[in-house]
Structures are given as C-alpha cells and as structure tokens.
C-alpha cells in the first residue's frame, strides 16, 4: 500500500509543478493558483498580458513569486494583515484640538467698516487684561463678544485704526504659500486635483470675509505672529482670579488668567514656544514663521474646518476614493494613520526584521507629519506637570530629528527617520497607536492578542464585592489582570490618551511628595493626576499604572516590545496571523505543522517576513486549499 504522503504527493504533482514547464498548457488549477497569487501579491486580478506570460512554455512561477515579493502591492498585502489586527484609525468622535495650536478666526469690521477675518488662538498670553488669554481685540473695541466656547454675539463696529494697527498684523501663512518661509512669499497654493493627494485648504480659507475676494494675506493677532523659539515668562501680576463680575475689563466675558505658582517661582525663565507651557506662560510665544506652528480654522468653533482630504483611502492616500472638507483635527488624525501605514510598508517592502515593528526607533514622515512633530506634538505638554518642574516635553519623537526642510505642503514626500529618539519604540509610540488605545491596559491588551495570539478569558468564578484595589489579587479579576497589569505597566510613562512622556527625573515611580495621608485620597490635585492614592505605601506615592510592575514602568514601551518579540510564541503568532490572512480562515489544530513550518521560516531567516510568505505561497496549504469548486459547494459539498 502506498503511504498517504506518497499518494498526496502524486496527486499534487501536477499542481506544484510550475506551469508549462513541460510544454503542456496550464491546467485550470494552475490558472487558479496564478490568479490567487496575483490577488495576493499584485492586489488585483491578473491582466491579459500577465496571463499570456503565464501560459508561455517555461514560465517560472517561482521566479514570478520572488519578483512580486518585493513590490509595493506585497507590502500593502502584508500591511493589511497588521492593520486588520490593530485597526489603527480613530473616528471623528476623537478630535485633536489643542488650543495652543488652533488658530480660530473672528469676523470683525476694520477701521473702514469692511468685514475682515482676524485669526487668534485661545489661551494666548497678551500684555493687557482686556485680552490676555482671549481674542486680542476686546468686545469694547469690536462690538463682538467671543465666549469661551467660541459663540459670537454682539454687533460688529469699525475698529479704531490705532488699535487695529497695534493689535493685529498681516501675514502670508503656510496654508496659502508654499514658500512661506521666505521673506516675501509669492507661491500661492492654487486649486488642486481632488483625485490626488495635496494640501488643499477649504474654500473658506481661500476667500476674504466678503465671500469672493481671494485671500492673499491673513490678519492675525500680533502676539500670534511672533516667531521666537523661546520666550521669557510673562507675569501679569494677577495672583488671584478676578471676582466673577461680568463683564470683565474691556467687556470680555472670560476670566483673565492668573500667574501660576510655577511662573511666579521662575520669573526669569525662558520657555519653549512649541510646548503648551509656552503658550500658557509666555506672551512672547507666537505661531512662528508663516504661522507654521498653528493650524488654521474657518470659525471660532471647537474644531473648525481647515482642509479638504479623503474620508476613504483603502487603496492608499495617493489613490483617494473621495474628498471632503474636514476639520483641522481631521487633518492631523489622517496623517497619524498614514505614518503607521508608511512605517509598515517600509518594513515589509524592505524586508526588515518584523520584530522592529514594535521596537524600532525609525519611522516615516511626510510634510504634515514633520510639521506635527516639529510644532504641534509638544503643545499637549505639560499641563499639571509644571508642579513637577516638567515644562518642556521629553518627547517620544525628538523634534530635532525631524527634517527641517520638509514643509507641510509635501504630502507625498515621505522620508525614513532612522532614530526618533531614545523613548521611541516601533508603532507603540506613534500617536495613532497611543490614541487608538488610550489607556495603558488597552495598549497592553491589543499587543497581547495581535503579537502573542492570546486572549484574556476570565475564569468561571463568581464575582464578590471587594475593595481590593490591586486587580492582580482581587478575586474574579486576577485571572486576567495578573498578566495584564504588569504588561500595562510598561506604558505608565506615556500619558493616557496622549503621547506625553513622563520622565522619571520629574515623575519618579515612588514619589514621597505625593504620598497619600488619607486612604484613597491624593495629597493634592497635581499629584492625583499622575500618582495613584490607592497604592501609596512606605511614605511614597506610586506613579499611576506602575503598581503592576515598577520595573516595567521604567523600561517603558521598549520593554514590552522586548518581552513580546523574545517570547517563544512570537514567530508562531506571526506565522498564524499571516497564514490565516492569506488562507482566509482560522488556523486549527490541523494546521500545526504549517504553523511550525512558517514559524521556522521566519525565525531562521532573521525574522524577515518575505521568507515566511515565500514558504506559505509554496505550501500545499496555499496551493491546494480554498479550491472547493463553487458549483460543488452550491450542491452541498463540504470542504
């Protein structure tokens, strides 16, 4: 009796033999295989010329596969595997609205009585109480009141010419001129073809308040037009909040800001104008050359319209399916996703070690991302961190490593950045990952599933009331959290729903200044943000999230990348994810041999994905599977 292996080998011989090598016409199964390979490696069905090539005697299918394991379509195919697992996009429910970045605009009357837009940013420090932290022209001067939520009221009146000249200036901004960094910008952005990706301001940004005159300059509050990188601390002299008697000076309806304890303690310090602290503390910080440190908006609303961009790019950002006017936050969010897309494409196209997906300090940026990392990312820092003397961000992506020559208009120019900085770690420190998975636990959880192929499944226990804050020991919780909490601790130094890094120099894991003197009550508001009163012990407060493993907290995202990629199951999990994606089905116990083969192909080739995929495409599982005839299936046949 022939062995099963022998029989199977004989049965498959006709298929696995390359098409037409013996001069015979390809069989239907060979055509089917070629079409499948085209779908997987070219991202489309084969073209007539390609089928004709395939039919020629001597066609080298193995060579064809190798050739197509290097193309962009292959990279896209592989990227889809991981994008499907990680789902790295966030919807419009999430708005990136950082007030130090957003230039909103108010329609007022200039001294001649003509309607004019004036751009400003909320929270901008100014040297007079009538407009400090608010719109630079007071209601008494404009007749228009800007509420804290952006609501406008009142009737516009012509502004005094001296006030107009003193408080506002004209600028040729980056969203209108591609040469905005020059002394006299002239290259105004024109209409763009919507079928391609380009910087495309919404119509409202391209016309004046009269609705038809093309905008060639924008009028902006004088403070916002400043360009220094650093500015001195500004002290208004207001220590306590003014009495809540509305209106405040100049008719303003928002309370003027007071001088913080930090600014009073550091009156001679210089602060960075690319940090949120700079906008909060320095009247000398503006939006930079051509306003490049700010995003424009067409109104005073929370997230005003700014640019046209696609909603749907399943074929890539350079092949959009639509185009629509979107908010300034949408613009930034769109490019966060594209950073992950291009990072993964680069990884697979260049067959880099797949482990670097989690650990590499490199990334890919284009013009908008360069602008974000250079000018916007620091704007979320440092809030209450000033209590801990944290006023300038210790960034996940060091702005010094961003190419200085990339301008926001270069949306299709992508560059590989070899080193983002010491805290960077693959996708784990990209804004899209940190925002998609806003909490420490969510971040750990998705990695556990996508890269370790494991799921948290609670044991069958009855939950009992408990006040135990430690979920690693609380009955009913411990089954999952004993594993999850130590993994989540790796993200303790990356703020939740943010990319602000919390360095140990400012935020020690154990902080005696933040010890809780009463159970579950933080000693003060600032400590409560960063330190968990439930885990105060030994005269120290515990950094939030670190209780699962203080050591992991200090190792940071790079630590969990190291643990996951060193796990013996890592290669097998990669093999399973890729195999399931290509075969379109879930692996079962019957696939263990295939999983092992693919895992070995990966790990024995320096964790290069191409070796794994090559092994998969040449495996019988790929060539013979999924071949149940549709007609047979329609008649009730089972696989």
């Amino acid at each position: 009796m022939a062995s099963k292996t022998t029989i199977a080998a004989a049965a498959f011989a006709g298929l696995t033999m390359m098409a037409s090598t013996a001069g015979a016409a390809p069989t239907r199964e060979q055509y089917r295989l070629f079409r499948a390979l085209s779908i997987d490696l070219q991202g489309r069905i084969p073209l007539p010329d390609e089928v004709a090539d395939f039919e020629r005697p001597g066609f080298d299918l193995d060579g064809w596969i190798d050739t197509h394991l290097t193309g962009p379509a292959y990279a896209e195919r592989m990227r889809r595997v991981y994008m499907d697992l990680l789902r790295l996009d966030i919807g419009t429910m999430f708005n990136f609205v950082s007030n130090p970045v957003v230039l909103r605009r108010v329609q007022v009357m200039d001294p001649s009585g003509a309607p004019v837009f004036v751009y400003f940013r909320r929270g901008q420090r100014r040297d007079r109480v009538e407009s400090d932290g608010d719109f630079c022209l007071s209601p008494a001067e404009t007749g228009v009141t800007v509420a804290g939520n952006g609501t406008l009221s009142g009737t516009a009146q012509p502004i005094d010419a001296a006030v107009w000249a003193q408080r506002t200036v004209e600028v040729r901004p980056w969203w209108l001129y591609s040469d905005y960094r020059t002394a006299s910008p002239t290259l105004r952005i024109g209409a763009t073809d919507q079928s391609t990706m380009a910087l495309s301001p919404v119509p409202g940004l391209l016309t004046e308040a009269d609705g038809h005159t093309p905008t060639v300059t924008v009028r902006v509050c004088r403070e916002e037009a400043q360009t220094p990188e650093q500015a001195p601390m500004y002290l208004s002299g207001r220590i306590a909040a003014l009495p809540t008697t509305v209106p405040y000076p100049g008719g303003r309806v928002t309370a003027p800001p007071t001088d913080s304890a930090y600014s009073r303690a550091h009156p001679t310090d210089m602060v960075s104008c690319t940090s949120g602290t700079g906008v909060s503390f320095a009247a000398g910080c503006g939006c930079g050359v051509g306003l490049e440190r700010c995003m424009p908006g067409t109104s005073t609303t929370n997230d005003p319209a700014a640019f046209s961009l696609p909603n749907f790019v399943p074929l890539g950002a350079d092949t959009p399916l639509d185009n629509a006017q979107q908010s300034q936050g949408d613009w930034t969010r769109f490019w966060w996703v594209q950073e992950a897309v291009h990072f993964l494409d680069d990884l697979f196209a260049n067959d880099r070690d797949v482990r670097t997906m989690l650990s590499d300090r490199s990334t890919q940026v284009n013009g908008p991302l360069a602008q974000f990392y250079r000018s916007f990312a620091g704007s979320t820092c440092c809030g209450g961190g000033t209590q801990f003397n944290y006023v300038a961000p210790d960034p996940l992506f060091d702005p010094a490593n961003v190419p200085a020559d990339l301008t926001p208009h270069q949306v299709t120019t992508w560059r590989r950045i070899a080193d983002r900085g010491p805290h960077a770690s693959g996708i784990l420190t990209m804004p899209i990952f940190l925002q998609k998975y806003g909490t420490r636990r969510a971040r750990a959880h998705v990695l556990y599933g996508a890269f370790m192929c494991r799921q948290f499944v609670a044991e069958n226990v009855a939950l009992t009331p408990s006040t135990e804050p430690n979920l690693m020991v609380r009955p009913g919780c411990q089954a999952c959290h004993a594993t999850l909490e130590p993994m989540a601790a790796y993200f303790s130094r990356v703020s939740e729903s943010s990319w602000t890094f919390l360095p140990s120099a400012s935020f020690p894991t154990f902080n005696p200044a933040c010890v809780s003197t009463r159970p579950n009550v933080a000693p003060n508001g600032g400590c409560g943000t960063y330190y968990d009163p439930a885990f105060s012990a030994g005269g120290n407060g515990m950094l939030r999230g670190a209780y699962g493993s203080p050591q992991h907290a200090d190792e940071g995202p790079a630590g969990i990348a190291q643990v996951i990629t060193a796990d013996p199951n890592f290669a097998g999990c990669v093999a399973q994810n890729v195999g399931e994606a290509f075969l379109g089905r879930t692996f079962t116990a019957d696939d263990q041999a295939l999983r092992d083969t693919l895992s070995t192909a990966l790990s024995s080739n320096g964790f290069r994905m191409r070796a794994l995929v090559r092994a998969l495409l040449r495996a019988d599982a790929y060539r013979r599977a999924n071949n149940l005839d549709p007609a047979a299936a329609s008649q009730g046949a089972n696989p």
């Binding site: 499948a36 779908i39 069905i45 789902r87 919507q194 074929l315 399916l321 019957d590």
Partner: protein
C-alpha cells in the same frame, strides 16, 4: 470539518460498531454525576485497520471553501477592468451620462457593503458574502459593464477599448463559434482562465443568456427607448454575469 477530523469520527463510529440503530438509553442514576467510561471502550484505530480499507487512498489535503477577495483588491480589479482609471475618475465616468442614466453612486456608498473594514469603528473585514454585498456586486457590475459596452462596442478604436477588446460584425448576429471566441476574451479577463477549461455548461449557459438578451432587445422595435441594441444588451448581460460570478469574487 476537515477530512482528517472526519476520518477520525468515522473510524470511531466504525470501531464502536455503529450500525445505525440507537441503543436504548439508560437513565443515569445521578444526572449531575460525571459520566465515566472504561478506557477500553474507545480504542484508537487506524482506518487502514478496518476491513476493506487497507488500500483505500486518502486525500489528506486540507480543503476549504474559496476565500473572499479582499475588498481593496476587488476595487482595484474593477478599476483595471475599466482601463486603470483613478477611483474618483472611475466614479465620475460611471455617473456622467448624456442620456440621463446614472449607473453608480459614490464609492462611499458601496464600501461597507463590499466588506471594507472600518478601523475607526472596529468593524472587521468581511470574511463571508452577504446579501447586501451581492447586491453591491450586482450594481457595480451593471455600471461597469454597461459603460464598457458604450465605450467599446460603438466603433471605438482597438486601443480605446477597455474591456470588450473585440469587434462585432455589422448587420448580423454572431454565430455560436464567433460568440465563443469573444466570450473567451471576457472569461479570461474576468476569471483568469480560458473558457474551455470551465465546466462544460459554462459556454452554453452564457450563450443562452446572450441570445435571450439579444432577442429581447431586437424585438423592442422601432421607437423603443432602449439604449442598447440587441448585441450590446447581450454582451452587457454576459459581462455582468461574469463580474458577479462566484469565481470572480472568490479565490
């Protein structure tokens, strides 16, 4: 269930002497008590040990139903079928008309139905077909094929033809052989292999489809508002049949 697993089940049933007659059930004295059986009750037995199975050939290759083409691949394939236009240009071309019929909506209207994952809402990629998806296939096939007929079969130069890369004889109907030759062009384009390798019923069934559409439109008579001639309607129908064929979407 894979063949391997099925084989084990069959083997076990045979080994147990299953003859199709259910044994009388004996009520358990305690329904909550775990049921235990002597280990000797079920003895793993190779199928080859079963009388009559000693030389039975087994195909142990795992077999699964065809998988669904990724929606991105499907869209890109549609685009290449219509000459490689950009998605927005394709959409414009499908919608623009001088005669009033808009054959297409927008890509955004079809994406969900086609199975594109929505990462923003954590909606996964569609792994199986559904009725909405089939309706979307139908709609896109109609749009693409009818536009292609209008583009290709009304005197376009060969270099301008995108899908129907053949001509039609003027003033007469195609013979069956002439149909088969042209059908093979479309069959190869859509399904990637010669029609001659398809199941035997493939060509006759599509020929019947072609003839019925051709006849129906030819019978429309003078003054008909129909926009297609008989042959045009026939080829549009054939094209639509191929682009919504399971072999087109599955692989």
């Amino acid at each position: 269930m894979t063949n391997t697993a099925r084989t084990l089940v069959v083997s076990a049933l045979v080994a147990l002497g299953c003859n199709g007659t259910p044994a009388a059930r004996t009520p358990a004295p305690d329904a909550q008590a775990p049921v235990s059986r002597p280990a000797t009750d079920i003895t793993p037995t190779p199928v080859t040990a079963i009388p009559g199975h000693e030389s039975l050939a087994q195909d142990t290759a795992p077999k699964e139903a065809p998988r669904l083409m990724p929606a991105e691949t499907l869209i890109r394939s549609y685009l290449t079928l219509f000459g490689g236009l950009s998605p927005i240009a394709f959409q414009t071309r499908m919608r623009t008309t001088t005669t009033g019929e808009a054959l297409f909506d927008t890509w955004a209207d079809y994406l969900s139905a086609l199975g594109i994952p929505d990462y923003t809402a954590d909606i996964p990629r569609a792994a199986q077909t559904n009725t909405l998806q089939l309706a979307a296939y139908e709609r896109i096939a109609v749009a693409l094929c009818e536009r292609a007929v209008q583009n290709d079969l009304r005197g376009a130069a060969a270099s301008a033809q995108v899908l129907f890369t053949f001509d039609l004889p003027a003033g007469r109907s195609l013979t069956d052989a002439e149909f088969a030759t042209r059908f093979d062009v479309l069959h190869r384009r859509a399904l990637g292999y010669p029609a001659a390798l398809a199941p035997d019923t493939r060509v006759p069934r599509f020929l019947a489809l072609y003839r019925s559409a051709e006849t129906a439109h030819a019978d429309a008579g003078v003054g008909s508002q129909r926009r297609f001639t008989g042959p045009e309607a026939g080829w549009a129908g054939v094209c639509e049949g191929l682009l919504r064929h399971p072999e087109f979407h599955l692989y």
